[in-house]
């Protein structure tokens, strides 16, 4: 008999459960042994009945079995007592408050042993909610896609307003003819060309140098910036927007805006050659390396915060005026030339201690809300994080 370790009430419920499972297993084995022993005794009796010469041997066997059986019964009684004490057979522990929700192994009326009483419940619940969860997730993704990527054609998934996803065959011909979703804009208005947008921004903000790149060209330039930063001369040759491109504007994927000494901003366009911005990031003019891209993040706190705010601005421009999102975004970016010189419009200071971030920052929040007349938007105000109101 193996030495038994009593699991006292001081032990954690999982140990108690493990012990109980162990004892139930032992009880089952003992019961099996007893059955076998009974079989052997009966067999011995039969043999001695049929074959009187073997009756002595049968008698020995019977006595031996009897001893074994007695021992098994005693063991079974002990195990049974232990199980009773730990409440397995009576379910007495079910109401205990400190059992972590782990109830003792339950011996169900049909003989099945369930290690945790709630396990059966959970399995059932999991199955039922999986369908609901999948449905909710699908709805959330299709909402997001519609909101942030209106230029992508939705062919199947967007139509339903209610919870269930329907694929009605009768609606399909209409879907194919449906233009890209744009709630506010008259669909007959033509989208401006990239070259025109860039030219007008250049005129509006002469202090900012704008350059365009194809995706691979930009990767190379970002790497080369890392090595030029090590030199003491940081003056980069100014590049005109039109002379920079070897090809046409059809493959432009990255727009770089540099305000000398203040920032370097990267805007990516998706698809390449379009006028639809899909990401923006602010960096210090002295940063360089492969992490410099429109979805990258500056190592400096001030630019990290401006980039976070720029993401919100981009989403706002895309949802409220998708045709002019790029123009608005570039204007808004150019207004940041005064990032390190313009005082906060609320507290009139340049640097302010942000208590929650424990950082000293200039005003990094520049309101981006468009007013109803869509020209002469100057984005002139700036606020510290703590000074800006929530919806700005």
């Amino acid at each position: 008999m193996e030495p038994q370790q009593q699991a006292g009430s001081g032990d954690a419920p999982p140990k108690q459960v493990a012990q109980a499972m162990d004892r139930l297993g032992r009880a089952a084995r003992l019961i099996a042994e007893i059955r076998l022993g009974a079989d052997r005794i009966l067999e011995a009796l039969l043999v001695s009945n049929e074959n009187p010469r073997l009756s002595e041997k049968a008698a020995e066997l019977t006595l031996g079995e009897e001893d074994a059986m007695r021992r098994h019964f005693l063991d079974l009684r002990t195990v049974g007592k232990q199980l009773e004490d730990s409440g397995v057979l009576s379910g007495a522990l079910r109401s205990r408050g400190n059992s972590w929700g782990l109830h003792m192994p339950l011996v169900c009326p049909d003989g099945a042993v369930v290690a945790y009483a709630w396990k059966r419940q959970l399995a059932g619940q999991a199955g039922a909610s999986a369908v609901d969860r999948a449905r909710l997730a699908l709805k959330a993704f299709s909402d997001q896609k519609r909101r942030f990527f209106p230029q992508l054609e939705d062919d199947q998934l967007n139509r339903s307003n209610n919870d269930t996803i329907k694929f009605p065959p009768t609606k399909r011909p209409r879907l194919l003819h449906r233009p890209t979703q744009s709630p506010n804009i008259d669909s007959t208005e033509q989208k401006p060309m990239l070259a025109d947008i860039l030219k007008s921004i250049q005129t509006e903000a002469p202090g900012v140098t704008i350059s365009t790149y194809q995706r691979l060209e930009w990767s190379k330039r970002a790497e080369s910036l890392a090595s030029t930063m090590n030199d003491s001369s940081l003056d980069q040759p100014k590049e005109q927007i039109l002379s920079n491109l070897s090809g046409s504007f059809n493959e432009v994927a990255v727009i770089e805006l540099v305000a000398s000494g203040v920032f370097r901003v990267l805007v990516s366009l998706h698809p390449a050659g379009s006028t639809d911005p899909d990401a923006v990031a602010f960096f210090s003019p002295n940063e360089g390396g492969s992490y410099l891209h429109s979805r990258g993040m500056s190592v400096h706190h001030v630019f990290k915060h401006v980039t976070e705010y720029a993401d919100k601005a981009l989403q706002y421009f895309q949802s409220s005026d998708p045709n002019k999102a790029l123009s608005h975004l570039l204007s808004w970016i150019c207004s940041h030339q005064s990032l390190f010189t313009k005082n906060c419009s609320k507290c009139s200071k340049l640097l302010a201690m942000d208590k929650s971030l424990a950082l000293l920052l200039p005003p990094v929040h520049r309101p981006y809300l468009l007013n109803s007349k869509d020209h002469d938007q100057d984005f002139a105000t700036a606020y510290h994080i703590g000074c800006s109101s929530y919806d700005v």
Partner: protein
């Protein structure tokens, strides 16, 4: 290279500078929320004087009589020379010190070490250090270097640094230190330096700052 300002501590009239002031200045820095200590720093400065080859001949007038050599904590492989009279700065490899020792055309007259603690505070780096006269480790002054990491343009960072300086001065005054920090004002254009900050700018700052530190410590003695 990112923009730095250099300040030195001017003790109040009649008070002497002690190591206690250094501890108090560090305490002011550590009292700002979000400041973290970032190790120690050490720079050194040598004042060279020309050794004329032939004592009978007058020294050529175009050669500087005095040279300041500076080894900066963030550029261990370089050595900078400042010729204040000619407003020239030379940037060389650190092995030039060996060359100077061998040539003996200029001899080091006295030496100053800067050493102290470094702090990181968001996008700012602060270095507070003692200015020690080398042979006897006498405390000559306390300096503080402030670096603003995102910017390298002196012009664009001017307002940020000014506001930081005000915040620092107010904090020092509120903690009742026996004196105040004075910023080192330098006209970099005179030294032929541009708007992009470089180690040469740092060398000029240290050159000017040390002169002021020595002048103020002589006055107080």
């Amino acid at each position: 290279m990112t923009v730095k300002w250099l300040m030195h501590f001017q003790p109040n009239q009649g008070t002497t500078l002690t190591s206690q002031v250094m501890a108090e200045a560090c305490a002011v820095a550590e009292s700002f929320p979000g400041v973290s200590r970032d190790g120690r720093w050490r720079s050194s400065m040598t004042f060279y004087r020309a050794v004329p080859r032939d004592q009978s001949l007058p020294a050529p007038s175009d050669l500087p009589r005095d040279l300041i050599g500076i080894s900066l904590h963030d550029l261990p492989n370089e050595y900078l020379f400042v010729m204040r009279s000619q407003r020239l700065i030379l940037r060389a490899h650190s092995s030039v010190q060996t060359v100077m020792d061998k040539l003996q055309s200029y001899k080091g007259r006295f030496f100053i070490n800067f050493e102290g603690l470094q702090y990181k505070w968001g996008d700012f780096k602060l270095r507070i250090g003692k200015c020690l006269y080398n042979p006897n480790e006498a405390l000559r002054g306390i300096v503080m270097e402030v670096e603003y990491l995102p910017l390298s343009s002196i012009d664009k960072s001017q307002r940020v640094m000014e506001e930081f300086y005000e915040i620092w001065r107010e904090a020092v005054a509120s903690k009742l230190l026996a004196g105040q920090f004075i910023n080192t004002e330098v006209n970099f254009v005179e030294y032929g330096l541009g708007d992009s900050y470089t180690p040469q700018h740092t060398a000029v700052l240290y050159g000017m700052c040390v002169v002021q530190v020595i002048a103020s410590s002589n006055k107080n003695q």
